[in-house]
Amino acid sequence: MHRLTRVFLVLMLAFSALIPFNIASAQESDDLRFVVVTHGQASDPFWSVVQRGAEQAANDMGVTVEYQAPTTFDMVAMSQLIDAAVASNPDGIVVSIPDASALSPAIQGALDAGIPVISINSGYETSQELGLMLHVGQTEFEAGFGGGQRMAEEGVTNAICLIHEAGNAGLEDRCRGFTEGLAESGGTVEQLVVDLNNPTEAQQRVEAALAANAEIDGIMALGPTGAAPALMAIEAAGVSDSVSLATFDLSPEVLQGIQDGTVLFAIDQQQYLQGYLPISLLTLYQRNGNELAEDIIQTGPGFVDASNVDQVVDLIEGGTR
């Protein structure tokens, strides 16, 4: 027993010293393998749709996809996951870039290793700076602009842009786009900042704004967390008939509101595409050398309104919207 243990330990050591570090990745295979690294945690319903899109694309294309994300919103851990993905030498990497400074070095490492990279969801500017193949996502300004145009079509002329997170650059871009989109047909927009963590106060703020300006006939909430108190404020002020509410992003409350007719429309960034498209495009790139001329595919703004809400609700249950 004694001797055996000793022999075992010695063998282990010899083993670890002898195995050369460069036998790796000599694997010859036709199977394409892609790694998706995002900041979306497993429990986030938004990101599970992205993951489903990527997996469906892998099925359809006959390739392998691995989905990685840190267990918490941890950019250091995420950049280390990208490092590992690069070292595993895949045929392509798909990343989201919520923090340019923390993730750029790791992504640059992928490019240096000659791995094609497509960014999704957030980080279009960084994607351009690094010279990535493509960005697949919704740019905030354009989404806001589309929302503004759509509201103008519905006859809104004086709107409130409801910001639920002061200082969030993405939300400010949405608001700017919305303002310009509405301004195209002569509408005006005023901004209102509310506190995300205090829905009661937010509701009262909106009520006060509605009372202060009777001309207001539209509210654009920048997310479901802003839409819920806005909806209550409209009802409490008794102006449901004259004030239209729209919002960014989908939530059960928002969909219910659209079905009930209290919410006009929701802007949908169709994140399923952010999972599906990069995998199919990387496959085409590797198998056929195809590359798009664009550097961005806009997956939004898509609109969910009374005309398609029932279909969307069904699809959400299937996990693809």
Partner: protein, 353 residues
Amino acid sequence: MPTSATAPATVPKQDDRLKPSSSLRRALLRPEVGATVGALALWVYFVVVAGDSGFLSMRGTASYLEVSAELGILAIAVSLLMIGGEFDLSIGSIIGASGMMVTILSVEYGYNIWFAIVIAFLVSLVIGFINGVIVRWSRLPSFIITLATLFIIRGLTIAFTRMITNRTTLGGLEDVEGYESAKSLFGSNIPVMGVDFPVSIVWWIVLTLIATWVLMRTSFGNWIFGVGGNEQAARNTGVPVHRVKISLFMLTAAAAWLVSVIQVINSTGADVLRGTQQEFFAIIATVIGGTLLSGGYGSAIGAAIGALIFGMVRQGIVYAGVDADWFQVFLGGMVLLAVLINQFVRKRAMGGR
């Protein structure tokens, strides 16, 4: 003479109690042995499952060593504190606070980054000191005291950051004064066979050696084992219990500071959520490394190896081609396996005596 040369192989039968224990057996009694065997087994496992997909490459090795190094720096300090019989759950939030302090002071207020790093160090020490003083003064378990400070520090970090910058993430550190020299100490890379190994690995190894030396060779090390094993007995033999424990809390805070500086230098910025859950990962690494939760027994090398195991699992599943959904299952399984092997080896080694 030919006869004496073969003598050690045929030691005459003698009283069991006088039998000198073999150096292997003595080695097997060390707390870190189980973890070492576990780490080797895990390494072999990944070599078999994922050796051809990059785990064995230099780049793959660098990637898991980097994860291990950052956790290891924390785990070494945590192992000393746990041997001393206390917990510190606030270190994760100190990473966030300290990193944000460095970034705000240098990016937002234009101070030299070295000044910012020193201020963050002093503040971290003060936090550690306060943790220690409250624990000693209240006589409450450190688990609950530092759980409270975890939330307080994280909350203060978010509140102050928002108040000062209106944001929750802050970048631009690469342009501040002194960044290059700070990078050479905390964030440079050492090329080995054409692959960059981050300097944090050196910090990890050096701190492991220092901590081990302190534990094994100094009277302060004896005091740590003493206050963790039996506080009353330690006090009776003249160990300054308060001072030892408070300085251990300051040590874990300082380790959190070091990790935060390495992270902000590498990522050229900070966000308020940095370090979330690191306190638990550090405790996991320490326990895998053979340190007892009850205090009085453990080792710093073990904690470093525990961190190595964590890093291999974290990065290894990428090479093994497993989806992130399974990471936590994998991690839990590996922790369980490592602890069981640990237990088995220790019992086996003790059993013969």
